[in-house]
Symmetry: none
Subunit: 108 residues, 2 copies
DNA sequence: GCGAAGGTCAACCGAATGGTTGAATAAGTG
DNA sequence: CACTTATTCAACCATTCGGTTGACCTTCGC
């Protein structure tokens, strides 16, 4: 249970965390530097980073006393697939979709 | 702020709610019928539907004593745009798509 | 009008979020 | 060693989530 895609969508549901991911698009960053633009405490940012890590959206590696945060965008793939597939399925009429199911999965 | 995109991602972070959205791809449904495949109480489903409504992903219209749930997939647009901004990813992977089908629709 | 069906509401529960502050740990720097 | 920097941990707090049960209201069928 407790699927990864749940964690990914949950992680993306907070503006602070989305902003962090966007910052990390540019380059890896230390925790302190991630926290700098935000008005909340470092501990709060640390918790956000934990949630992003749990979702697999970032990884953290400690070098010396600095913990570097690195974007792991491939963790978004499952969520992208879900959301885009949904859009594509929605565009189909349902009979065609059922045909697809029958063809691809051998169900009826 | 409490932005809409926050609500959309939060709504999508629960497997029960994603399953409900997938069910509604086929047709509008009454609350009781939405609840039927799930093992939880009707009240629990009602709460999930409230969360989906808050996100704008469904609308509910009462006709007689029956409340009809209708998919509003355009509410996903903003979330799709955001998530696609990490577009260096392969957008649609066939294996993952099959997994999606199995998980979200393959429930007999 | 009566009873059943369709849904929500209210109260409760345990767990998770999102934030705080202050102490603690770890690792460079003088 | 002493100090400072980097980061987490622990405790606390208010709010939300995901679920339950039982009461309630509305509407349909008889």
């Amino acid at each position: 249970m407790s699927e990864q895609i749940d964690h990914v969508f949950a992680a993306l549901s907070d503006g602070t965390r989305r902003a962090i991911l966007t910052m990390l698009l540019e380059d890896d960053m230390a925790v302190t530097d991630v926290a700098e633009p935000f008005e909340m405490s470092l501990a709060a940012i640390s918790k956000h980073l934990t949630i992003l890590t749990r979702a697999g959206l970032i990884s953290q590696e400690k070098r010396g006393r600095v913990k570097w945060c690195k974007l792991e965008p491939q963790a978004m793939r499952e969520a992208i697939v879900w959301i885009e597939s949904f859009g594509q399925l929605e565009a189909l009429n349902y009979d065609a979709f059922e045909d697809f199911l029958a063809r691809e999965l051998g169900q009826s």
